[in-house]
């Protein structure tokens, strides 16, 4: 559309209107606001409170524009477009109004820009340059607000607040946690919490980006750098498989903070706190920055040549059949590709990345994914199967919440703990790790009865054996209803469940009966990439730990990543040789390893990730590799050459990436023809939970995240009924015994009575060291402390 051609009336569709802004003609949707039309057409209108993703408040009054035939200026954010409306954003009336508003906004704003973190990227600063007066006419005393401590992630300077309420609306509309509000009245209104509470939303960091002034700033980033000193590098989330797009902001090659990059089909305009602050784990104390070898039990730093020589000798000491490669799930595709190519060429079949899982019956392919993320909202019925969704994939939780809020989707849940969700639940089934799986079976039984299908095979027998009940029958009726689209989300609690294969089979069967779709979560940021690159098609980690493997290569993983941390530690202690290629080495790894080769994190190397939807997203190195650290792919290439394996002549990462891009991506499928492993409760049933900030090496080391309320504890959570029966009180010391395969794992924990845990169950966090694959535990009650 050029400015000279006139739009004829016939050319305007029914639901659109023609307007003019600053003499520029445009056709915009009926009912949209003037500011949206202006934004779409590149006309800038100053604003503070308006944000495209939030409701319209119209309380800053900065976006005043002049509309023909209207006697006074109007706020562009709250003025709907009208046919043939003529808007002027630069007329004298508009500019005067904007200047006047600016003067009022600056009345109470402190002149502390030189010590304000927002300085240089401040909307108020920019706009006062454009619209403000050089000198303030205001001579009375300014308002001062007391700062609150709202947690370890966000710093507050409430005196700078201009009460635009973007943060209040974000926490109400997007996260649904309502933690901030406008306290007081009139000119004394302040934004604050309900008396000294912290902000505990898992997406809270976004209010830093939303704040147009320096009232809410990034706490760990405070006073670290100025906006104009920072370089920006594109990255992809290292903590969940949504693959949120983000920018790392670096100074002198060091990542100082993370901000979201808009991607409407994935993370929209947001990122979770884990993605924002997780990378700060990069500077942990146990970061290895030089190759190290162990001599007589003492760790010594050495040069790469010596370390590589030793690594090669260690790997050659044993036959390839007795060698195993165990990798974490947040490395790049290129590293996985080389790793699997190298060890397969050597004849090694012991390669795995699924360290946290225990049932591998349905884990040999990609996760089944029948839809894209932006289609989640199209489903009227959403069933979460074993998922604390907000803590597993925060952006998916956001999508489900929006589906509930905007489309009235009904969300049902099967879980081993009564989690609090930011959407209402239609059917919330909570039972022990054994009960909720049976509950899912009961639902399948109800669906089978409603659809009058005869069930066959082992799965059919198992489903038939589950009792039906009226509540589940109501849910079943809603699911089989032909008018509603159904989505089943298989969460990470299911992935790590000892009956994962059964759960997935039941879900697949349910989806076939209800014409539903399945969203199977991947556990780990690049688990999908690892699978595509061939890391998960051989012997599983459980087989490997049970095998005679004597020689290990541990790649970007550590003890805490394993389902069976205790067993892994024993196995590695007994091994002939352990080569560790990682960015971090904690005491456990240092105890078992013989040589450490320091490699870079995904934020420090070039590479790519596959997300849960099997989309490949590439990125360049954002940060400089610390000291002697090298990119993993280069080390693997040299290692391959030293081991005399052909086909490792790559000179650049692009050559590997292009080979990865050619790999076949098979659609994930779930088999319903399975063998059923029944589980039985002897005493109390354990729910061993991987918490939100305990998912990978990096998040575990991010101090700001570990200082939030969501960090793991060494509590033993138990229902008040069981506690009463066993005579347990809060803070009592409890000995937990877990018997597996003749071994007994014992941990001493502190009791915490919590009715979110169902009766008959105990809940612990995974970091305490119990296994996830054995559900039966017994307690010994000690003394209160």
């Amino acid at each position: 559309m050029t400015e000279t051609t006139k739009i004829t009336k016939d050319a305007i569709p029914e639901n659109m209107v023609r307007i003019e802004i600053d003499d520029k003609e445009m056709i915009v949707p009926r009912g949209s606001m003037v500011i949206e039309a202006a934004d779409k057409n590149g006309i800038s209108i100053p604003r503070f409170c308006y944000h495209k993703k939030l409701s319209i408040a119209a309380n800053c009054r900065m976006c005043m524009v002049d509309v023909e035939k209207v006697p006074k200026p109007l706020p562009a954010c709250a003025t709907p477009v009208m046919p043939d409306m003529k808007v002027f954003t630069k007329s004298k009336r508009a500019i005067d109004a904007q200047r006047n508003v600016m003067e009022f906004l600056l009345i109470n704003h402190p002149l502390d820009c030189p010590i304000c973190d927002q300085g240089g990227e401040c909307e108020l600063q920019d706009q006062s340059m454009g619209y403000g007066r050089g000198v303030s006419r205001y001579v009375d005393s300014k308002r001062v607000a007391v700062d609150e401590n709202i947690g370890s992630l966000i710093a507050t300077d409430m005196t700078r607040c201009i009460t635009c309420t973007r943060c209040v609306r974000f926490l109400d509309e997007i996260t649904g946690t309502d933690e901030l509000g406008g306290i007081g009245r009139g000119d004394r209104t302040q934004i604050g919490t309900a008396v000294g509470r912290s902000i505990d939303s898992i997406m809270s960091g976004n209010i830093i980006d939303l704040c147009p002034v320096g009232a809410l700033t990034n706490k760990p980033f405070r006073f670290k750098a100025r906006a104009w000193e920072l370089m920006s590098a594109q990255g992809v989330s290292m903590h969940d498989a949504i693959g949120s797009n983000l920018y790392y902001h670096t100074r002198q090659g060091k990542i100082l903070r993370t901000v979201p990059k808009d991607n409407e089909s994935l993370n929209e305009a947001w990122i979770s706190d884990r993605d924002r602050y997780g990378v700060l784990g990069q500077d942990a104390e146990d970061r290895v920055t030089a190759p190290m070898v162990k001599e007589n039990g003492e760790w010594k730093e050495t040069d790469w040549a010596t370390a590589m020589d030793l690594a090669v000798r260690k790997l050659q000491a044993n036959d390839a059949k007795n060698t195993a490669v165990l990798a974490g799930n947040q490395s790049t595709n290129e590293e996985y590709f080389l790793l699997s190519k190298l060890f397969k060429a050597l004849g090694c079949a012991n390669i795995d990345y699924r360290l946290g899982q225990s049932d591998f019956t349905q884990a040999s392919g990609l996760p089944r994914m029948d839809l894209n993320l932006d289609e989640v909202g199209n489903n009227q019925q959403i069933v979460l199967v074993g998922s604390h969704v907000g803590h597993e994939q925060p952006i998916l939780a956001h999508r489900i919440r929006q589906a509930w809020l905007k489309n009235g989707s009904k969300v049902s849940i099967f879980n081993p703990k009564q989690y609090h969700f930011n959407f209402e639940t239609f059917h919330h089934y909570v039972g022990t790790q054994i009960e909720w799986v049976n509950g899912l079976g009961s639902l399948a039984h109800c669906v089978a009865d409603l659809n009058k299908v005869k069930l066959e095979g082992e799965l059919g027998e198992w489903i038939n054996a589950q009792a039906t009940d009226e509540n589940l029958n109501n849910l079943a009726k809603a699911l089989v209803n032909k008018d509603s689209n159904v989505l089943f989300v298989i969460g990470q609690i299911s992935n790590n469940h000892p009956q994962a294969g059964l759960i997935k089979a039941v879900v697949a069967w349910l989806s076939s009966q209800t014409d539903g779709k399945v969203y199977e979560m991947a556990t780990g940021a690049n688990a999908v990439g690892a699978q595509i690159c061939g890391m998960g098609s051989q012997n599983s980690v459980a087989d490997i730990l049970a095998s005679d493997s004597k020689s290990f290569l541990i790649y970007q993983a550590e003890n805490d990543d394993f389902n069976n941390a205790y067993g892994a530690q024993i196995k590695l202690e007994d091994a002939d040789s352990v080569v560790l290629m990682a960015s971090f080495a904690d005491d456990n790894m240092k105890q078992v390893a013989d040589v450490i080769l320091p490699i870079g994190l995904a934020s420090e190397v070039a590479g790519s990730y596959f997300n849960n939807f099997a989309q490949m997203q590439g990125f360049g190195p954002a940060a400089k590799l610390p000291a002697e650290t090298k990119p993993g792919w280069r080390v693997l290439r040299v290692l391959a050459n030293m081991l005399n394996v052909d086909g490792f002549t790559y000179d650049s990462i692009d050559e590997i990436s292009s080979e990865v891009a050619l790999l076949t991506v098979n659609k994930g499928e779930i088999d319903t023809n399975i063998k059923v492993k029944a589980q039985k409760a002897d005493d109390l049933v354990l729910f061993n939970e991987t918490t939100i900030y305990d998912v990978d090496m990096l998040a575990r080391r991010s101090q700001p995240l570990q200082d939030t309320v969501h960090a793991s504890t060494d509590n033993l959570n138990i229902n008040s009924v069981d506690a009463k029966k066993l005579g347990i009180e809060n803070a009592m010391q409890i000995i937990v015994n877990q018997k597996v395969d003749g071994d007994t794992i014992t941990q001493s924990l502190f009791a915490n009575i919590d009715d979110k845990v169902p009766a008959g169950s105990v809940n612990v966090h995974k970091c305490v060291g119990l296994r996830t694959d054995a559900l039966n535990v017994t307690l010994i009650v000690g003394d209160s402390v």
């Binding site: 309502d178 306290i183 009245r185 008396v195 809020l405 609090h420 930011n422 639940t425």
Partner: protein, 177 residues
């Protein structure tokens, strides 16, 4: 669409702090609004809670009200801090509010304030030493301009005040418990 975000189910404080009478009062208010607009009941609920809690709203009792109404605590605190008839700090049992808005001011509200302050020996916003009487700071227009200047004692209107009348009213108030 207007919606209340799902709240934690914990109602410990509501059960512990709110008396049966207060709860019945709040229930009455709740019947007046649709369930998804129960936020509207917050003012009525706060009046009941304030009366129960000797004339002021503690942090805990506000949280209790939020739990009872199943709305976010911040909504309760916003309302309590906005209106001059709610007190978020411990204060006197009886509240004397003198309107100082335009009509009352033109009819001598400043003198009324001066006299009340002298008689009670406290400033606006303060409470007498025995903790009985409080002079509410900045009462906004009470919609009785026809009777200006106006003083409210525990919610009761006293209009067209003169010196004698003020002394009488305050003396009576001092006698009350």
């Amino acid at each position: 669409m207007y919606q209340v975000n799902p709240q934690e189910k914990d109602k410990t404080l509501a059960n512990e702090l709110l008396t049966a009478e207060t709860k019945a009062h709040i229930d009455g208010w709740l019947t007046k609004y649709p369930i998804d607009q129960r936020r509207s009941a917050v003012i009525g609920a706060l009046h009941a809670a304030q009366e129960q809690n000797e004339g002021w709203l503690s942090k805990d009792i506000m949280t209790a009200v939020a739990q009872y109404l199943e709305i976010p605590p911040i909504w309760v605190y916003e309302a309590a801090s906005f209106y001059s008839m709610f007190h978020t700090q411990s204060c006197g049992k009886h509240k004397v509010s003198i309107c100082t808005n335009i009509s009352c001011m033109l009819n001598g509200a400043e003198k009324v304030v001066e006299q009340a302050e002298k008689t009670l020996g406290i400033k606006l916003g303060e409470t007498t030493q025995d903790g009985k009487i409080m002079l509410v700071k900045e009462e906004e227009c009470v919609a009785a301009c026809v009777g200006a200047p106006v003083m409210l004692i525990d919610g009761h209107y006293h209009e067209k005040l003169c010196e004698k009348e003020i002394d009488k009213l305050l003396a009576e108030l001092k006698e009350k418990d």
